[in-house]
């Protein structure tokens, strides 16, 4: 069984922990991180283009190099936390597309909810929403943190008792 675990900055620990608990021990695990290329592009050329300016970026590591080294550091921290052998994949691009393309051919995709930490429609943010909707393989959707119990849930009117 080939399992892809998509980790993000805000929820990688719980995502990795739950993958370690729930995925069969003999599964081949791949950890995936996607750097959002449009944010990198914005960091390189933030703000409206200034007419007539062609200033080179200041010396030092480029935004791309920083993003790549941080992604690798995050992936290796995640592999260590997983506590078993795992391949790591760092991609960059539009997040939803990269995750779906990376997941092609896997038997299971593990990801964390990226929305509000409560039992409500927006508990799945727009990236995870798109990926869950369009994934071609089974999806294991974990909570980044334990949600409040059913007692605190805000039921819509037609389901209220």
């Amino acid at each position: 069984m080939r399992v892809l675990v998509w980790i993000t900055e805000s929820s990688w620990r719980s995502c990795v922990d739950q993958a370690a608990d729930l995925v069969p021990p003999d599964a081949e695990v791949t950890l995936l991180h996607v750097a959002a290329s449009e944010v990198e592009r914005l960091a390189r050329h933030p703000g409206p283009e200034r007419l007539g300016r062609h200033r080179p970026p200041p010396p030092g590591p480029s935004v791309r190099e920083i993003a790549e080294s941080e992604a690798l550091a995050l992936l290796s921290a995640a592999r260590e936390r997983l506590g078993r052998d795992a391949e790591t994949v760092a991609r960059r691009g539009r997040v939803e597309r990269e995750v779906l393309e990376a997941a092609d051919g896997f038997d299971l995709l593990v990801l964390a909810r990226d929305g509000k930490p409560r039992r409500e429609p927006k508990s799945i943010g727009h990236y995870a929403r798109f990926i869950v909707d369009h994934a071609g393989c089974p999806v294991l959707l974990v909570w980044a943190e334990r949600p409040p119990g059913l007692d605190d849930m805000h039921w819509p009117p037609h389901l209220r008792r």
């Binding site: 062609h54 970026p57 935004v63």
Partner: protein, 411 residues
């Protein structure tokens, strides 16, 4: 005929700046265009000389500010600000955003929007990435604040420098009139960005508490130099020395303290081709203005300093800035609104400074060009940027101009 030549010269200069042809760089095209308008008599030699005489000190001021900001970079100010933001955030995304707001608004106001765009934003990206938090809201904040937080001081934006030269108020009066609009603009950005990026700003529940580290220290000398330069700006009208000299003194002091590795580095920091472009564009716009463009703009803009008049000036300026970019928009409008200084000029600044947040690339012209030339090559999430612009710009224009009107009643 002269009218047509002047307008074609203006269009050619702007097209070259938008298209960025390697063989016909914008500064060269604008210089040739300026020479042509003078040669055909659309602007007299005397007129050209007086336009250059008017713009010269402003362009010199800009060069000094660019060198000053680059000196701050060499002296490690921006790296230290990155460490300070990381420390102050205590690894919480929302606190980091607050730190980014403070630092980006301060940097933009004091060292100009260029410092925020070129020098601060990469540091902010790196800081967020190292804290393992999504850089998205913080980078968008820098991008937006570079424009909307550039209202405060004459030195915050080239458009302000141009307007400052035209509106005849002192440095301190400019700042006191624009303080409230500046705060309003920042507050609008804060409310909108926090809401739009709720998901990215979510605190990771399982994040370990950061080990207590020592508070990073900001380098004293660049801070002192910048502080003294600001004090100089403040007292410039009292002591009768033009603010440009204080900027030049600050730039020289930092250059001597941390000399660049090569003269070329210093020259490149001052962006000489951009300075030439501004001067040449100024001549071309003056020619177009004298040949009918000013009359057209004049008929579009109301006069006086009533609230509706100020609002109309701000909105028309924002629209024009979005059509052709804010530098030519300022050059075109400032000649007309200087009659209703300072209110009209400052309302124009709210329009041309905040307006560009509406389109990611700064103007519709650039946007269309990019779409046509690089149809598939754009990484930018245009929808996100346009959404943020639509949520912030109209509110800031109205509330900021209202704040300006209030300030005009008080000061």
């Amino acid at each position: 005929m002269k009218e047509i030549i002047a307008l074609v010269a203006l269009a050619a200069s702007l097209t070259a700046a938008v298209a960025r042809w390697r063989r016909a760089p914008d500064w060269a095209v604008a210089t040739v265009a300026a020479a042509i308008v003078v040669a055909v008599g659309a602007l007299s030699l005397h007129g050209a000389r007086s336009a250059l005489g008017r713009l010269g000190p402003t362009v010199g001021f800009l060069a000094a500010l660019l060198v000053l900001a680059d000196g701050c970079r060499r002296a490690g100010l921006f790296d230290a600000l990155g460490a300070l933001m990381a420390f102050g955030s205590r690894a919480r995304p929302t606190r980091l955003l607050a730190m980014v707001f403070l630092v980006a608004a301060g940097t933009t106001a004091v060292l100009s929007l260029d410092a925020t765009i070129v020098l601060l934003t990469p540091i902010v990206f790196a800081t967020a990435a190292r804290l393992t938090t999504s850089p998205r809201p913080h980078v968008y904040a820098c991008s937006h604040l570079a424009n909307s937080a550039s209202l405060l001081l004459p030195v915050s934006n080239l458009t302000n420098l141009l307007a400052f030269a035209a509106c005849g108020v002192s440095f301190t009066r400019f700042a006191s009139l624009m303080a409230l609009p500046w705060l309003v603009a920042i507050a609008v950005e804060w409310v909108v960005l926090r809401r739009v990026f709720t998901d990215d700003l979510r605190q990771a529940a399982e994040a370990p508490s950061e080990p207590a580290q020592e508070r990073p220290r900001l380098p004293a000398l660049p801070l002192t130099v910048v502080g003294l330069t600001l004090v100089g700006f403040g007292v410039s009208s009292i002591v009768g020395i033009a603010p440009v000299w204080f900027a030049a003194a600050g730039a020289v002091a930092l250059t001597l303290y941390r000399p660049p590795s090569a003269v070329a580095e210093l020259v490149s920091a001052a962006e000489p081709t951009f300075l030439v472009f501004v001067l040449a564009l100024g001549v071309v716009v003056t020619a177009a203005g004298n040949n009918g463009l000013s009359d057209v703009v004049d008929s579009l803009l109301p006069h006086g300093q009533s609230l509706p008049a100020l609002l109309a000036v701000a909105v028309v300026s924002a629209v024009l800035a979005n059509l052709v970019n804010n530098l030519p928009a300022t050059l075109i409008i400032v000649a007309v609104v200087s009659a209703s200084a300072p209110g009209g000029v400052l309302a124009m600044l709210i329009g041309v400074n905040v307006g560009p947040n509406l389109t990611y690339v700064g103007s519709l012209a650039t946007l269309l060009w990019r779409r046509i030339v690089h149809a598939h090559d754009e990484d930018v999430d245009l929808a996100e940027f346009l959404k943020l612009g639509a949520l912030t710009v109209p509110v800031t224009l109205i509330a900021g101009t209202g704040a300006l009107w209030l300030a005009l009643q008080v000061f």
